[in-house]
Structure formats: structure tokens, C-alpha cells
Amino acid sequence: MITTQLNRKTFLLASALLAGGLGLGLQAAQAADPLYLPNVVELSGPGAVSGTNWRDGIILAVEEINAKGGILGRKIELENLDTQSDAGISRAQMQKVLDKNPYVVLGPVFSGSVLVDMALTSQAEVPEIMGGEAAAITQKGSKYIFRTAFGQQSSIPKLANYFRDGLKAKTVAVVWVNNDFGKGGRDNFIKEMAARDIKVVADISTESGQADFSADVVKVKGANADAIFVYTNEEESARFLKEARKQGIKTPLIGETTLLGQKVIDLAGDAANGVKGHVGLSADAPIPAVQEFAKKFKARFNYVNDHNGIKGYIAVYMIKAVTEKTGKFDSKLFASTLHGMTIKPEQEPGILMEATWDANGDIDRASFLAEIVDNKQKIVEILPKLNK
């Protein structure tokens, strides 16, 4: 009898030790497992400029984090997938990565692709940290979508105030790119202009990838507006600026981040000088952390980053900050924690600037008014967070 009891005790003890050992072993194995992080983004096609910057910002952040031991001891294993700037391909790539049960997914940058992909990530309950700026993205009710830059509903009102107060414009011409990004910006802009009694005298749609802007500039010129709002992607912005300068347009050319980006300056050269606008993120921002990031980016990739590079970089640090706060790799917990969360550079230096995410996944952070002077972006004014 005693023997049996002893045997049972020994068995239970051995089982407990074995189970504990296995548990520890599993935990250790999980800690050692790399963290799969897919990035579905525009690496070719019209979005390649934005997508390449976004990808390189991510690579830089991943290399830094991995060099310091990863997130909660797990090194990041990054996979970049090209959407070819096509919403259909983007959706297929997103489905492919979701089949691997990722913790979080990154990208895309093009709003049209995000609008298609987000249904999949929402259904799979996997947080999607992306670079799209169309207002509609965070108005669809997904609990798993998060911005890295201002949505148009936040940035366009700041710009509209500048048209009214800074430029004292009474009439304005709008040149926009006929994709989801451009249409969203154009619709918001027209609404904001109407609210400020500024008349839109020309409303000109252009094509993504368009090369010849002579007809568009002739139409803009004929409108005789007090100011021109240009809302196209980077390459088209550069081509438009070159044609506008060629045709001698003297009217102020105003835009958002895509008109004042480094790639636009590189491609348009002197034609970019004098352009003004609102930038949510800028490598030239008078913020030491951002400038330090720009130096590291240049040293690593041998080109000057644009705002998408910063967006990609902070996207990875968002994952780090949230995961370290929750203490585990739980996708649903990640999403619920990030809603309403503020990440400060004191807590996580990689976030570069203090930022807050609301219940829709929209971001709030300081932004800038900028001007291109001598082929460089010059920050004219820092605009505080909207809810500060």
C-alpha cells in the first residue's frame, strides 16, 4: 500500500516536473522563435517611390530592434511582398500572409489597396498598420486598422485654414490624381473650401502615372485662381511642377506631403522651389530624433528618405511599444491596447514624436507647414496635436 502511494506520489511529481519542463521548454522555444512580420507594399508601379521608402524605414527599424535582441526576446523576421501598386494583387498578397497567422501586418501605402485589404485583416482579427491617408479608411468601422500618418480628414482642414488665413485666397484651382488617395483628398478639400467660402474655379482630374501635364496646366492657368492645390502622388507632382514652371505659373502652388517630399524635389529640381504646404512628417522637421533618423536612413540606404520612410520606421516601433506594454503576442489585445494609447519618445525613442491613436485607429501628432527653398524643404511652422 505504501509502495503504491509512493509510486503514485513519484508519478505525480515526475509528471509535474515533466510538464513544467515541457512548458519551460516550449516557452523558451517560443522566445527563440522569430516573429514573422509581413509587409505588403507598393514596390513597383506608380506607388514604388512611396512603397520603397516605407519598406526601407521598416528594414531600418527591424535591424535596430533585432540588434538589441528583438521584441520580448523574439527577433523579427521581415517578409516584403510587392503589390505592384495594384489593389487586386495587394489583396491576394494580403490573403497569402494572413494564411500564415501573423501577429501584425504592415502596409500597404496606397489607400485604394488598403481599402481592399482591410476587410481581410478585419475578418482575420489581425492588426494592420498602414500608410494610407484616405479619409474613408478609418471610417469603415474596422477595429484592426491603424494609421502611421494623418488621414485627410485631419490634414486637409489644417491646410484649408492656411488657404483662408495665410494666403487670403478667395478662389482656388484643384488638381488631383484620379485614384482613391486623390479622390478622398479632393472631396475633403472641396468640402473644407465651401465651409470657408472659398470658390473652387477649376477642378482637374489627372491620371496615376501621367507623364504629360501640358493640358492640365493650360486649364489651371486659364482658371486665374488665387491659389492652386495640387494633390497627386510624388512622380506626378514632380512632372506637374516642371510643366507649371515651364508655362510660367506664378500663382502659389500648395499641397500636402506628396507635393513637398524629397523625391519630388529630386525629380522636379528648381521647379519645386516656392511650393508650400502642410506636411505630417518631414525628415527636415526641427526635431532631433527625426533628424537622427534621417541621418541613419541616408547612411543605410544612400538616399534621402521621404515621409513614407518615417511612417515605415515608426510602424515597427508601434509594434514594439504595444507588445512590450501587453507583454505577449496577442493580436486582439494588441488592437484593443493601441486604441486610445499614447506613445511618447521618452518611453519608446523609435516613435520619434509623441503620437496618440483614437478608437478608429486615426493618429494625432504635431505636424508642420513647410516651403521648398533652394531645393530643400524648410519647416516654417510647427502645428500642435489637434487634441492638445
Partner: protein, 292 residues
């Protein structure tokens, strides 16, 4: 009126580029029944040969242009014929078409992987400045394109109609069997056509890239435009391809300004449909009959 002149000249310049590409397209078809769906990429890639030479060989722009021309003649002329057209053409037009579509994808991906997916500034062949003509601002680059394209077409016309070599090429195009009986080295004549096409696309590339910026996707627009221009003008006449290119360039520009900016992409296709319905052999082409 100033705006109209400006748009017209700008359209002519773009159309002149389309015309150069369309002429090459048409020549290949005439001499070897090759429909080259990689023609757009053939225009895109010489600019990258130049940029590659500048970046990796560290040489100046003009020597790099020389290298760009030589590499274009070798790869887009000689090797294209030997490695793709010669083995595939004996299997008919359809395998040839599929091969050139595959080639176009390969060239795009190659540029993307080995150079960059981003648009690159390409130096102008002449300094960029503007002329004021009755209130219309006309770029010297556009005028330069028009002059160079016109001179090229005149020279090509002279070669085809005013020289023994050109007549031999025309004979090859019209009836290779009879040309062979007459002692014309048909294979060599076909090779010359491929080299001429390579030279034309290289020239078009160097003229258009300062305006369009060098990018791996440039061929998409240019290839389609050249194809439409060749059909609109007439697939069997050099002058047809020229007229087709110019009509297309000017129509695109004027339509975007005066009809609809939103539907600018549809206008060339509408033009194509109208011409096919009205004159199936193109504006300047001649009707051909074939025994089947």
C-alpha cells in the same frame, strides 16, 4: 489661341516620339512579320543603359549616350533577332506575340531589380529653356524633339527610297522569296531592319526620358501609343506611322484640355475604333489582299 498653340506644339512633340516608335514597329512587321509587344520597353530601356553607364562606369553623359546606342543595337537589335525572333517566328505569329509579351515583362522586371523601381531624372540632350511665341510658352526641348524626329524620318525615307540598300530592304519586305531569287541577302536585310528599329527606339528613349523621367513602367504607355499610332496611320506605310503618331499626340493633348481630362485615356482608343471602322487599312495605309 496661345493655349491652343502651346498644346498643339506639345502634342506634336509627343506625337513625334510615338511616330518614331511606330515606324520601328511597322518596319519589323513589314520585313519579318514580327509584332513586337516589347516595343514600349525597347523605348524605356536605352535610357537605363545610359544611366547605368554614368553610375557604374563613372563616365560623362555623352560618352554614356554612345554606350547606350551601342548596347541598344546589340541587345535590342542583334540579340533580339537572333535569340527570340529567329527561333520563334517559324512557329507563326502567335508564339512570336507571346514571346515579345514575355520579353516586355522580363525587361521591366530586370530594370526594377538591377537599377531601381523609382523614376530617375534623365539629363536633357539640350539645355532646357522656353520660347515665347505669341503668348504661348514653347519648350526648346519640344522643338528639339520635333526637329530631330523630322530629320530622322527624312533620313530614313532617303535610306528606304533613295538607296540601293533601302530598295533591297523594301523588296525583302514586299516579297522575300522573289527578293532571294534576285540575289538580295534577305537575312541581312532583315537584320538591318532590326538594327534600324533599335536605333529608332534608342533615339526615342533619349528624347522622351528627360520629360517622362526614366522609369521601368514608361514602356506601358509608349508601347500602346505606338501600336495605336501604327494602326491609325496604316501598318504598311512609313508615312502612315508618322501621321498616326502625330495625330495621336495632338489628339490626346487637345482632348484632355478641351473635351475631358477624366477620359483622356479613352480618346486614343475611340480614335482607333473610328479609324478601323472607317478605314481598316489606316489613314495612309494601302489595302492589302492575301491568299488564304
Amino acid at each position: 489661341m496661345a493655349a491652343f498653340i502651346q498644346l498643339f506644339v506639345s502634342g506634336l512633340a509627343t506625337g513625334a516620339i510615338y511616330a518614331l516608335v511606330a515606324v520601328g514597329f511597322m518596319l519589323l512587321w513589314q520585313t519579318s512579320q514580327t509584332i513586337n509587344f516589347a516595343q514600349g520597353e525597347f523605348v524605356m530601356i536605352p535610357a537605363f543603359f545610359v544611366l547605368w553607364a554614368i553610375r557604374f562606369l563613372g563616365i560623362d553623359f555623352w560618352p554614356a549616350v554612345g554606350i547606350g546606342v551601342i548596347v541598344s543595337l546589340i541587345i535590342l537589335g542583334f540579340l533580339f533577332k537572333r535569340m527570340i525572333v529567329d527561333p520563334m517566328i517559324k512557329h507563326g505569329v502567335l508564339p512570336m506575340v507571346i514571346s515579345t509579351i514575355a520579353l516586355s515583362i522580363f525587361l521591366k522586371e530586370m530594370v526594377k531589380d538591377f537599377y531601381s523601381s523609382q523614376a530617375q531624372p534623365f539629363p536633357g540632350l539640350i539645355p532646357s529653356s522656353d520660347l515665347n511665341f505669341f503668348g504661348a510658352v514653347i519648350s526648346t526641348q519640344n522643338i528639339f524633339i520635333l526637329i530631330i524626329a523630322s530629320l530622322t524620318v527624312v533620313a530614313l525615307n532617303f535610306l528606304l527610297n533613295g538607296t540601293r540598300l533601302g530598295r533591297a530592304m523594301q523588296a525583302t519586305a514586299q516579297n522575300p522569296t522573289v527578293a532571294r531569287i534576285l540575289g538580295i541577302p534577305v537575312e541581312r536585310m532583315i537584320l538591318y531592319t532590326f538594327l534600324i528599329n533599335a536605333a529608332l527606339v534608342a533615339l526615342a528613349s533619349f528624347l522622351i526620358s528627360p520629360i517622362y523621367l526614366a522609369k521601368f513602367t514608361n514602356g506601358d504607355v509608349l508601347g500602346l501609343a505606338a501600336f495605336i499610332a501604327a494602326i491609325v496611320g496604316g501598318f504598311n506605310q512609313v508615312r502612315g506611322a508618322i501621321v498616326g503618331g502625330l495625330v495621336l499626340g495632338v489628339t490626346e493633348n487637345l482632348a484632355a484640355a478641351y473635351i475631358s481630362a477624366q477620359y483622356r485615356g479613352a480618346i486614343p482608343l475611340i480614335l482607333l475604333i473610328v479609324v478601323i471602322l472607317w478605314r481598316p487599312h489606316g489613314l495612309m495605309g494601302r489595302a492589302e489582299e492575301r491568299t488564304v
